[in-house]
């Protein structure tokens, strides 16, 4: 087996401010082969977006302390110099952001913004870069691409802007695409279009994708592997099918049973009680314990270790055996 495209080991991100510090990402490890799609699932504040930004070192350097190891296509991302890092960004790895309304520079045309990346990394001439930009707009199925090339971001709808953003991210045929909730800010119909587009492009270009979402439906659509994050830690990790159909961690079980999936109208949706913890004051044990109905004293006393629960599957829970029957009950018949 060849070395994975992306290999993350013990990634930890701490934010420091004058008064306190918080661990937003804690000892996160995962890997991704070329052409694979990994979905990171979690609620807001679980550290999924921070993980993504850490992968490209986009966090403010003076406030965010990143440790661990990020191996990307043979590079050790955390030890790269600025110049080498900039050469990697936008070329080998690129990112699609959540908010298409604010992610593009308002005073440059769409074409200029795409061409800029092509010229930066490919050393192409202005005309070549513009031709490439046009090609990309066609690739992401933007209607009347010639006209859109000269349009400014405010002249496009949210869906079109997100397509333009994807075109921008794909401009140098990246090996790894980081997609940070790229469909969250869009209308439901547009969401599906963008998702289908990403899936098709992924198959055509064969790039690896790390896809962050809080939407389990989206994850089921696109993922090969799934990592469930809670309070900065990966609590469950494994092949998408296995994790989504046979969840082991109480948090994953709770999350899956709280999604609306054709329940009878008179039955309440099972929501997870409580709310996510404050990252600046995490409990010493399992961060999910205060909300977990299986929790025992041992859960609160010390952080449970990561346990293998199947081929390529792991979960960080001390009560896997107790949670199992509940999971079976929650799984769709």
């Amino acid at each position: 087996m060849t070395a994975p495209l992306l290999d993350v080991r013990g990634l930890t991100v701490r934010f420091h401010s004058r008064r306190s510090s918080a661990t937003a990402v804690d000892d996160v490890s995962f890997s991704l082969a070329a052409g694979e799609v990994l979905c990171i699932i979690g609620e807001s504040g679980s550290g999924k977006s921070v993980t993504m930004r850490a992968l490209m070192r986009l966090l403010p350097e003076r406030r965010a302390e990143i440790s661990g190891r990020i191996g990307l296509d043979g590079n050790d991302v955390l030890s790269l110099g600025d110049r080498a890092l900039n050469a990697l960004r936008g070329d080998t790895v690129s990112m699609v952001f959540q908010e298409p309304m604010t992610a593009l520079d308002p005073v440059f045309t769409i074409g200029d913004q795409i061409a800029e990346t092509v010229r930066r990394h490919r050393g192409a001439s202005r005309a070549e870069a513009e031709a490439r930009a046009l090609e990309l707009l066609k690739l992401v199925r933007i209607p009347s691409p010639e006209r859109r090339l000269r349009a400014y971001p405010h002249e496009l709808s949210g869906g079109l802007r997100q397509r333009a953003m994807i075109a921008l991210a794909l401009s140098c045929q990246p090996k790894l695409l980081l997609a940070d909730e790229p469909t969250t800010a869009l209308d439901a119909t547009v969401q599906i279009q963008v998702l289908v587009l990403l899936k098709r492009l992924q198959a055509e270009i064969g790039m690896g994708i790390v896809f962050v979402t809080h939407d389990l439906g989206v994850a089921a659509q696109i993922a090969d592997k799934v990592a469930v994050m809670y309070a900065g830690r990966i609590v469950e990790y494994g092949p998408a099918r296995d994790v989504l159909l046979d969840p082991r961690h109480p948090y994953t079980i709770g999350m899956l049973s709280s999604t609306v999936r054709g329940q009878p109208r008179d039955r309440d949706i099972e929501a997870i009680p409580g709310s996510p913890p404050d990252l600046a004051a995490l409990p010493p044990g399992c961060a999910f314990a205060p909300r977990c109905r299986f929790a025992v004293d041992a859960c609160r006393a010390a952080l449970p270790p990561v346990e293998e629960v199947g081929p390529g599957r792991s979960a960080r829970c001390a009560r896997l055996a107790a949670a199992r029957p509940a999971a079976a009950a929650a799984a769709p018949a």
């Binding site: 930004r53 490209m56 986009l58 900039n86 050469a87 990697l88 960004r89 936008g90 070329d91 690129s94 990112m95 952001f97 908010e99 604010t102 992610a103 593009l104 520079d105 308002p106 005073v107 440059f108 800029e116 990346t117 930066r120 990394h121 400014y152 405010h154 953003m165 921008l168």
Partner: protein, 318 residues
């Protein structure tokens, strides 16, 4: 874009008319009678009436305004009551003198302020930011006439490096940008004049650029692998409309001539001309000068508006 430019141009006409009404009316709001200063104390009633007729002061104000406006449109701003020279001639000569120092002052101030402000925005909280902020605070808050006097004491009186007042050896010669003997008279007024725009523009450049740098799309630019220089180009282009607006106002103030600075340095520009006109109740001269300066201000604003639209395409939709 061209349609927008035409719109702006048409909007400028009512503004200019409004300005002319204010210029005309302002002078009449001030206490005192212009005729009083022209006549000897022992003049008879008939003499006074004759003088009033001669200058048109006997007609109703509205007629006086339209007479004045009609003549102003043909370039005739009347004759100075004191010197009997055409007002336009006096105003344009003074304006050229003010322009000579104002242009050097704005060029210097804008160049330094723009660089300082951008550097500060890139290094918020670091020493360079503190220095820039201190400079801008000093620039904005130190009264410039006081600054002028201090500069005169240090560089003209104590050190004797530079002349204290006037424009040339005889007080008011023709200004020559390339001749040090002439240029040295401009050094102190220019430095004094540059202080306020330096402070104001530094501060607004800093806040505008820092604001842009904190926006989402800058992170996208970093994710594209762009260098800091290239990101600066984006940040500056985004901040430019805001900076241009501030620069336009400052340019307007400086070109209007500063009564205080020109008085301290007896620089024969529009500021000095206006203060002379006020002290001698020379109404045609005062009206003419104010009108000329106000219209220049309107013109600068128009240019700034059009430049902003060139930089930011969203503006022309507003």
């Amino acid at each position: 874009m061209w349609i927008y430019a035409l719109h702006r141009l048409l909007y400028a006409i009512p503004i200019a008319l409004g300005v002319s009404v204010i210029c005309f009316a302002l002078v009449y709001l001030a206490p005192g009678d212009p005729v009083q200063s022209l006549i000897p104390a022992d003049a008879t009633e008939e003499d006074i009436a004759a003088i009033k007729r001669l200058y048109g002061f006997d007609k109703p104000l509205v007629f006086q305004y339209f007479d004045w406006l009609g003549r102003a449109l043909t370039g005739d701003l009347g004759t100075s009551l004191q010197t009997n020279r055409p007002v336009l001639e006096d105003v344009t000569r003074a304006f050229a003198n003010t322009l000579a120092i104002a242009l050097i002052a704005v060029t210097l101030a804008f160049a330094v302020a723009f660089t300082l402000g951008t550097l500060a925005a890139y290094n918020v909280g670091r020493p360079i930011d503190r220095i820039a902020t201190s400079i801008s605070t000093v620039g904005v808050s130190v009264p410039n006439y006081w600054m002028g006097i201090v500069l005169v004491i240090v560089f003209a009186v104590n050190l004797r490096w530079l002349p204290a007042t006037g424009m040339g050896a005889t007080g008011s010669e023709n200004f020559d940008w390339l001749d040090w003997d002439s240029l040295k008279y401009a050094v102190l007024p220019v430095v004094t004049m540059a202080m306020i725009p330096l402070g104001v523009v530094t501060r607004s450049t800093r806040s505008a650029v820092a604001d842009i740098l904190s926006q989402d799309f800058v992170q996208v630019l970093r994710a594209k692998g762009l260098s800091n220089t290239r990101i600066l180009v984006h940040a500056v282009k985004n901040a430019l409309p805001q900076i241009l607006a501030v620069m336009g106002l400052q340019l307007g103030y400086l070109i209007g001539g500063s009564i205080l600075i020109e008085t301290v340095f007896t620089w024969p520009g529009t500021g000095l001309l206006m203060s002379k006109a006020i002290l001698t109740r020379d109404i045609p001269l005062l009206q003419g000068t104010i009108l000329f300066l106000a219209l220049t201000f309107v013109l600068i604003n128009l240019i700034v508006d059009l430049l902003q639209t060139l930089v930011d395409p969203r503006m022309s939709r507003a």
